[in-house]
Each structure stands twice: as C-alpha cells, then as structure tokens.
C-alpha cells in the first residue's frame, strides 16, 4: 500500500524533470533559429538581379535561390536584417535593394518631392493672400 504513493511521487518528480528539460530544449536554439517570416521580410526588400521586376522572395531564378540561402545562413548565424542587407549591397550595389537607401546620394530622391510640395504651398498661399 505504501508502495503506490512512492511510485506516484517518483513518477511526478520524473515527469517534472522531463518537462523542464523539454522547455530548456525548446528555447535553447531559438536565439539563432530563423523564421520564414524573417526570410520573407528581408528577401521581399531585395531585387532579383536576373528578373529585375521581381523580389528575391518571389523569384524562382537560381540567383534568387542562392541569395535566399545566404540570407538563411546569415540569420542562423545571428546577423541582423541591416547587416545582411549591407553585406549584399557591398557586393551587388544599391540596385539590389528596392527602396533607395538613405544616404547623401539619395537625399535628392527622398526629399525633393517634399521641397517641391513646400514651394508649391508657399506659392499657393501667396496667391490666395494676394487675391
């Protein structure tokens, strides 16, 4: 009779131990595991250099498959999105990124439409006040 509670108690301890081990295992690799979501997010921002209207994510070209492999390797080794994009831009140029990067060369692209808008608004206000 005493034997059954003893077994139950040991079983519970053993089960608890296994449960803790399971959760440690579950979260131990998560810092370097990549997700499909991360791959999609990064590769959607990149242009396929052989099918230039498609993103790396959408394209089935060999080039795109190679770049996806590189992105996965870099994500698994802990690189950030910015580091991965910088790595690829260093080799393929800014053309590989769909969105122009924010640097001195591209300030004209980014800010000139707002400059034109501001000038137009000032001109419009000036005309309205005059009338």
């Amino acid at each position: 009779m005493i034997f059954i509670p003893y077994l139950t108690e040991n079983f519970l301890k053993y089960f608890l131990f296994l449960l803790i081990c399971f959760f440690i295992f579950l979260f131990s690799g998560s810092t370097n595991a990549y997700s499909e979501k991360d791959l999609k997010k990064i590769s959607s921002k990149l242009r396929c250099m052989t099918c230039q209207n498609q993103s790396i994510y959408d394209s089935d070209a060999d080039f795109s498959k190679d770049i996806k492999k590189i992105i996965v390797q870099k994500l698994e080794s802990g690189h950030t999105e910015q580091e991965i994009i910088k790595f690829l831009v260093q080799r393929y140029g800014e053309y590989i990124v769909f969105e122009p990067q924010m640097n001195i060369k591209n300030y004209f692209l980014w800010f000139f439409p707002f400059v034109i808008l501001a000038i137009s608004l000032i001109f419009l206000i000036f005309r309205i006040k005059k009338n």
Binding site: D66, V89, R91, Y92, I116, I119, F123, F126
Partner: protein
Amino acid sequence: MKKIVLIIPFILTLIISSFLLFYLLQNKDPKKPPSALLNEDVPKIKIPDLFDEKKFLTNIEFNDKLILVNFFASWCAPCKVEHPLFFKIKKDHPNLFIIGVDYKDPKNDALDYLKKDGNPYDFVGYDKQGLIGLEFGVFGLPETFLINKKGKIIYKHLGPLDKKIIENDIYPLLN
C-alpha cells in the same frame, strides 16, 4: 516682383527636366547595373585550382599584377562565344595574368570543356558553391573583371566580350 514669382515654377520645371534628360541620355542599361566593387579593393578570396584542389590562389598573388578575372561555366553558351577571344588577349598582352573561375559547374564538365575548347587561362579556379562569385557580385555569366596592380577593380563587364569591347574598353586600361 510679380513677374519673378510667376517665372519660378517654370524655372523649377526646367531644372528638373534638365536633370531627367541628362540621366536618360547616359544610356544606362538596367540589365547591366554598375558594379558595387568598381574602384574598390579586390575581395579577399582563396580559390582552389580546378586541376588540383590542394592548390589555391589567394590575394597575395594579385600584388603588382594586372589581372583579368573571367567567370565562366561549361553550361554557359555566351561563355563559349567569348572563349576564343581570351587566346587573342593573351597573345596581345602576354604580361596580363588571366584567371578563369569555373562557376557552379560540375568539375568533369569543366575539365572536358577546357580540354575540348582549349585553356587560355593562366589559372583556373573552381567555384563550386558560387561563393567566389558572391564576393565579386556576380549574378550572371559570363562576367569579366579587370584588376590593376594596386589590387583595385577598375573594370567590369557583364555578358560576353567581343572584339569591340576588348579593343575599346579593356586594351586602353591595359596600356
């Protein structure tokens, strides 16, 4: 003052149109974007020899040499079109060190191709995984790079070379 204010939008339009026209007249081909590595140092690489994988070519061998690097493959049709021209380049400029990099190609196919069509290269590297190509920003074959004696990439051509490109673009840089 009133006239100046009225002319401003016209002047702005003229300035913007001039920029756009200047850019359009440069004949930039979107299929051939400029290399990110132009005027940059050649990437740090270690290329195994196609004929003996125990031998390697590294950046040390690039010092004080004028080098032409050509990425090719046995499965690449345009590569076969330009292949004979490398014999001509070698004959015209014997001091030029020509490196062929066999890119993502079965080794035996590459060896058979060079045996059949001849080997114009001073060194043939084997880039099985395409990692050397990645360092050079290669995305299509063939691609040819010219490296000066200071180890900087001074020229890149995407697509097959022809006599006109060699004589007009490459030879002036060799001289």
